[in-house]
Symmetry: C2
Subunit: 785 residues, 2 copies
Amino acid sequence: MPLTVEEIAGIHAYWRAANYLSVGQIYLRNNPLLHRPLTVNDIKPRLLGHFGTTPGLNFVYVHLNRIIKARRLSMLLITGPGHGAPGILANTFLEGSYSETYPNIQQDADGLKLFFKQFSWPYGIPSHCAANVPGSINEGGELGYSLVHAYGAAFDNPNLIVPCIVGDGEAETGTLATSWHSNKFLNPVTDGTVLPILHLNGYKIANPTVLARIPQEELEQLFRGYGYTPYTVEGDDPEVMHRKMAETLDRIFDHITVIRADAASQYPPQRPAWPMLILRTPKGWTSPHMVDGKQVEGTWRSHQVPLDEVRSNPEHLTLLEEWLRSYKPEELFDNRGRPVPQLLNLAPKGDLRMSVNPSANGGELLKPLVLPDFRDYAVKCNVPCDANEVSATKILGDYLRDVIRYNAGSRNFRIFGPDETASNRLQDVYQATSKQWEGEVLPVDENLAADGRVLEVLSENLCQGWLEGYLLTGRHGFFSCYEAFIHIIDSMFNQHAKWLKACKELPWRKPIASLTYLLSSHVWRQDHNGFSHQDPGFIDHVANKQSEVTRIYFPPDANCLLSVGDHCLRSRNYINLIIAGKQPTHTYLNMDEAVRHCTEGLGIWAWASTCAPEEKPDVILACAGDVPTMEALAAVTVLRNWAPGLKVRFVNIVDLFTLETPGEHPHGIDDENFERIFDQESPVVMAFHGYPTVVHKLTYKRRNHASFHVHGFRGEGTTTTPFDMTVLNQIDRFSLALDCVKYALPGEHDRVRQLYSEKMQQHKLYVAEHGEDMPEVRDWKWAAN
Amino acid sequence: MPLTVEEIAGIHAYWRAANYLSVGQIYLRNNPLLHRPLTVNDIKPRLLGHFGTTPGLNFVYVHLNRIIKARRLSMLLITGPGHGAPGILANTFLEGSYSETYPNIQQDADGLKLFFKQFSWPYGIPSHCAANVPGSINEGGELGYSLVHAYGAAFDNPNLIVPCIVGDGEAETGTLATSWHSNKFLNPVTDGTVLPILHLNGYKIANPTVLARIPQEELEQLFRGYGYTPYTVEGDDPEVMHRKMAETLDRIFDHITVIRADAASQYPPQRPAWPMLILRTPKGWTSPHMVDGKQVEGTWRSHQVPLDEVRSNPEHLTLLEEWLRSYKPEELFDNRGRPVPQLLNLAPKGDLRMSVNPSANGGELLKPLVLPDFRDYAVKCNVPCDANEVSATKILGDYLRDVIRYNAGSRNFRIFGPDETASNRLQDVYQATSKQWEGEVLPVDENLAADGRVLEVLSENLCQGWLEGYLLTGRHGFFSCYEAFIHIIDSMFNQHAKWLKACKELPWRKPIASLTYLLSSHVWRQDHNGFSHQDPGFIDHVANKQSEVTRIYFPPDANCLLSVGDHCLRSRNYINLIIAGKQPTHTYLNMDEAVRHCTEGLGIWAWASTCAPEEKPDVILACAGDVPTMEALAAVTVLRNWAPGLKVRFVNIVDLFTLETPGEHPHGIDDENFERIFDQESPVVMAFHGYPTVVHKLTYKRRNHASFHVHGFRGEGTTTTPFDMTVLNQIDRFSLALDCVKYALPGEHDRVRQLYSEKMQQHKLYVAEHGEDMPEVRDWKWAAN
């Protein structure tokens, strides 16, 4: 049924109000209702913000409001062009949610003045849809993640509609370009609905956009090819556009209703061609069309501040006042600055307002996972290395399988991976679930189903973005990845870490589940894949971020991995980085020991030391990481031979941030404990999984940091054997043993260097001849002496 | 004209030979020609490599060879599924180029044996199309960059055809998904031809691929929507497939001929719908169909090693022998192991062989740029700060404009940017050229043309990948980007750095032009955009890579930026990172001083010191970065007031790696010089652009490193003023001055801390009230005293 004239007038008034509020935020520090002519003193000293995209966002917003009211739908709006925050903020102001969240700003003239002034004002509201914008889970500062967040939010939320405004600028990014394919992973019965709205306003900062400059037919083919049914709304006459938009959205939501009803009657449901909307409106719509003889509206010149000389150029000031008055604020706000009732009535009420959709503050919805007792999966181990070698990640896979089972009913836990879940040896999870897949399935396929807890796609960006969207809307997840290639999402990690940090300063943002990475197929076990697969730099990247949100763990064996994994799934508001190999290897600690060790985060392993814990050692041999731990243990064996009687204290570090001081990181141990473990005089030779710098950085404030000699990845690698990788980077047992002697028994250094050289020669010759490592290395096992 | 039976037989034989050589590489260390039955001892101890994709690669290769011979085309092959290196290597062996590059391996039985054995053997050939594979510019280890490299190679190479095999796994990555849009930037007259070949073999490691499991109609719409004309070849019967492939490639190359001829007659040329090929063949094609009762050929089970128990399971060994013999090696190689003449004759000769295409060894083609004298663009500066404030990047833009002009005829220099060239103030380059753009152009547009030297797209991945492809094929380029968002390409940077390092070890790989980044809109000038835009972590990322390929520069002013920029454009085989702000600021050095300073890389600024260079200072105030330099200079001013008589030595660092020892980095200065500048006792207070750790890492081996107190980015940020960003992270002038007093005049610390607190309060109050920085900060200028 077409809209009545009154309905259109109402929608148009609401849109004008949102636009007015948007321009006000960009320009005004005073005179918010234009009760008197505008003067230079009403204008902010710095003009910041992005108007270009804003009227389009406001247009979408008011029309979605109509749908919400008419159909009583729960909608979480994702705003890709987050730079258009003035528009989203304007809508939260009109809906009243802004005042509810920030009671210092009420819907009146004083509130309005402050609301305007604080935008892009120091310590005010940032210019993107950041964490402090009610209803936002996607900042849209760094572009490209809107659609992947939308899909992440929609998984397991069958009653949620996620309209996602995709800017035509961000549509050029890699992540966005592949995000369209997320529809091959969305179940039309058990998941929610994503409605992509491609907003073609034609320009980026300085250039036309690709998708705005290809023929309409090509554009529609692209989206049909991506598996969608495109609808288009195009124009610049507001009245005509309101009609078109309303009518098209009605058709789209009818279409969605049909799709969901059809799917509910099918098993398995067919992948539908979900609707998507192409919205083509002028950039800077309703801003001054021409300024200084140049077209502004409809061009890139309206991207940020369409009039940028209002403080110095009286003509610009006049244009600004005309522009503001063109929205007829006197019809929209009463004398006290309160939006008139007709406007207020147009907005949905309560939780139906997009700005307070419960999913936008996921912590409110978060239910803890029901976790199995991780001790039940323990590798039996009476003394170190007496059990068969096991793949630590395979053991973790058993535990994760049961996490899936225990929470199957809640549908609030998922595993994400770039085609590597099985490669990382977590395949036992398929005993409890499948990989969700809405593409075609062939008889030969395994572990695929229309509904499943595992999401696999060959895109780290999609895995990361889906998981972020899933966590931000109050669920739990786990991401396993090859270590080297996790750098693909460095920048997404940055943005998520920044988001979490910002949330910690907002009491109304409730804690969400942590984002936990398991990096397997790590640098020391990519010998066969070669140099391109060898990179532990993500540790450095994480260690640069705020200590209140980052945790890094190096479980040395399967039992420790279980303990750490369980801990991470219980944690909130962190980013947990776990690094553990998938190759079968030794177990050193029984479960009780493992729990104690992981709880302390680091500790002396008396059984691996050649002197009593309270005794002053000649050298401290420290390690963090599974392969470094094995090499360090083997180094103790080597030292028994090369330097009998040398007093070695063995220290293992699981929780990397224990090395920092408590002032720098909450997990940092105090100096007294640090010096009890590392003492103040003994040299410390350390084998570290990553770049040595990380350890130097963390121990920088420790009094004895100068005694740390850290062996780690030095950037050397190639196609070779596993042990040779450690040799190339000098974290092998022999190099460690040599270094212990160098610092603890300098007089013996020359003699031992000779032994070392012989070993190295033996190793190199063996590898060259046999193409694999010497038996003494391959078959090494801890022996008490 | 359809192929004759003999032609098909020849092609098929060649394909069998390539497949045989591929299987041989994966399995055999001996008995390469199967002159006797296979035994366990003939098998390598570790079975590594990826067969699944390989027969498809070989199929494409032999058919492209036919086209090359028939049409005498110059083709550079890009292999996205680089894991299929056994296939590409097999072809280089058949073409003879392998033996030319590595004379120890000739086309005979001994050569074959070694060729097989060394594959994935320690220090042998890696399992991807790495730098040591002749003809490769795309390793394909980390997936997703094939198509963007192909376009980069094609720019300004009108006579080059770049067939690019895109794996259906890598097609799921973000970079690949947006790379298809590169056709909106490729000029059909002045650039070359990219022929994408989407190889649908259906599976990744463990999953079906998205594009293999959507209906053919949808798939074709996708590529039509991306702007291509899709052709499809599908099947598994080799004979039928050879016919189809030959016929389809003929149609495709006829189509390309028509497109290029049409384009040559148009001005500007229309964007053509370039052909692309969809090739659908079984994964692991020709491998054993069933193994242990499970289907292998045509499934993910053939991804790596289709038979993985040949050393322990006699049945597998038998299957392997049957498999190898199914290629009929006795027909393909003579008794001495040389490929039979019929095969050798099928390969193109000389430079027409894809494995020796000159563009694949870009350094061979590289011509130095003709560079203007950068001194001509100098900002006149008699004494520090006497010139007007200038935007350093704008000055560099003037210079780059002339670099473009001087090399217009050579068409070998391009500037790449994610919609930020003008935002980073390099817009003067548009006086000399335009942004290349093959999309629709409207009358209101500016600086767009079908042919131009600047490429802008809102994807850091495309910019990076295009530039890599352009450099690797022997040209020059420049990439300007916002500092925070360069992390998007962290992983691509890693791979390029690794590639360069590998090339340095291969004498036949000639040096290529360096990849130079200009990061502007940096952390200290993203106050307005807020926290999401504030991140200097790319410095850490670069500093982790090998010193032989990395350079990092912090020009403190426009004249230094000119000197550094010129230097970087002349350099080879490096990755240069330049960080310089775009906001108008002061010039400190005249051009002669700037050149001297940049050449030395760091030095004492006597004019900014309060004691003579040879005098022992109370404190050394060091700085790296434009904003840190300004704050450090201002701190000297503050100190004159707060602690008159304090002897301050002022040190500025342009070339960050001068801080490292010469053993760690070739730019490191020796200890004697280091201690001449920093001496051994005086405290060093340093203002650094990035995270302080970087400096601690680089100075770690210096005797006096413990005296370094580094102020840098501490992860604090928000929407605020520029000066407040420095305050938040304590690299502002007042914090620096306070720290100087703390270490140099501890007795005065309390008194000065009081002054400091007053200043801070004054600052905070002013910002809160005015929304901008205090005039004394905004208007600060160096004054001699």
